[in-house]
């Protein structure tokens, strides 16, 4: 009686990782020097 070897378990196909966006609040160092006076509104 012959027997065939049991099939090797196949690795489960990786599920596509879910991509997402990340809102990153800027650090102080990234804004330092950016807040230049514009004159702005005065009313």
């Amino acid at each position: 009686m012959s027997s065939s070897p049991a099939p090797e378990p196949q690795p489960q196909q990786d599920k596509k990782p879910r991509k997402k966006i990340v809102v990153r609040r800027l650090d102080k160092i990234e804004t330092t020097g950016w807040s230049q006076p514009s004159g702005g509104s005065s009313n």
Binding site: K19, K20, I21, V22, V23, R24, R25, L26, T31, S35
Partner: protein, 353 residues
């Protein structure tokens, strides 16, 4: 959120590397999104107040073949939660009348700008101001500006305290009084003026002189914030020490402002931070730094008062809050010089240790 719309002050800009900048460049507001796939830019473009979140997500999926339904929903939800988006079809705000909404419309625009918490209708900070009560102690150079600013801002209940009468030499800086008021009690005149500025709020006044911590404790009871604009008796052991001890026990935050000529500063104290006596003890003594001279202009008094008013509004609204236990300010002699003092609680503090 029914119809999300990017706040006009937070309008998105695409940077050279494909990322998206939101909220301009102001620290505490501005943010960036790495956006190699272009999803965020597309979603923000679609958030113009004419589409529901589900419609925006569906449109994203139609534009980006690789975008799953879950991913599209998450992109939209993330942007809505970022604080850069407002409700274009806000629910009713019944706490404010139509007249109040017109009066405070520019304040609402300001709060929308600095507020990164998603809101139902955007009037929430203004409603907090309406429901708040502030004790303004001292109606001189600093206090007259504080009282005007808080009344104009819509703080619902103001109590004004000052024992003095208006003098001609007050009129170079004390914004609530005129020549016709010389000789009249400041508290009485100030209350009249503020009721004329804003009839929507309750203004009461007293010419009482605060002579110790017990009297201050009675006055401040029932208020949300103390604006301390009196400077006598001076430290050590003076009126700021009284305020520190009374307000600490009562759990009430307090703000104190003033000027030493061109050196203008404000201090914010309250639960969660080192007490006034800790911070004051941390400031290194410097020979000649104890000024106490009377020179002042309308500008220096006004800046100190408006800094106090700003910090009071910040404490009430929960927006832009200076950490408690902080002195900050500026010297008008040097635009480069930012003045601040922030020291931790001291183990040997006579009061709070």
């Amino acid at each position: 959120m029914r119809l999300p719309r990017v706040k006009p002050e937070h309008a998105p800009h695409r940077l050279g590397d494909g990322s998206v900048r939101l909220g301009g460049v102001l620290y505490g507001i501005a943010s960036e999104i790495a956006d190699a796939d272009g999803w965020a830019w597309a979603a923000l473009t679609l958030m113009d107040g004419t589409r529901s979140p589900a419609e925006i997500a569906a449109e994203l999926r139609s534009r980006f073949a690789g975008l799953s339904a879950e991913e599209a929903d998450e992109v939209v939800a993330t942007l809505i939660g970022s604080g850069h988006v407002e409700e274009a079809a806000p629910g009713p705000c019944e706490a404010l009348s139509e007249r109040e909404k017109e009066r405070y419309s520019r304040s609402r625009d300001y709060f929308r700008w600095v507020d990164v918490t998603p809101r139902d209708h955007g009037w929430e900070p203004q409603v907090r101001l309406k429901n708040a009560g502030v004790l303004v102690l001292g109606l001189g150079g600093t206090g007259s500006h504080v009282a005007w600013s808080l009344a104009a801002s819509g703080v619902g209940r103001l109590h004004l305290v000052d024992p003095d009468v208006v003098e001609l030499s007050n009129l170079n800086r004390q914004v609530l009084y005129t020549e016709a008021d010389v000789g009249r009690p400041k508290a009485e005149v100030a209350a009249e003026r503020l009721r004329a500025v804003n009839s929507e709020i309750e203004v009461t006044a007293s010419a009482a002189r605060v002579d110790g911590p017990a009297g201050l404790a009675r006055l401040v009871d029932g208020f949300d914030v103390l604006a301390l604009c009196a400077d006598h008796p001076r430290e050590p052991g003076g009126i700021r020490t009284w305020a520190n001890r009374v307000c600490s026990v009562a759990g009430i935050p307090w703000v104190s402002g003033g000027y030493d000529g061109p050196l203008v500063s404000v201090g914010v104290f309250g639960p969660g931070g080192p007490c006034f006596e800790c911070v004051r003890a941390g400031i290194p003594p410097r020979p000649g730094a104890d000024y106490a001279w009377p020179g002042v202009t309308g500008a220096s008094a006004g800046i100190s008062g408006q800094l106090v008013a700003h910090d009071v509004v910040a404490l009430i609204t929960g927006l832009m809050v200076t950490p408690p236990g902080y002195f900050h300010g500026l010297t008008l002699l040097d635009p480069d010089e930012h003045v601040y003092a922030h020291y931790p609680s001291r183990a040997d503090c006579e009061f709070c240790s």
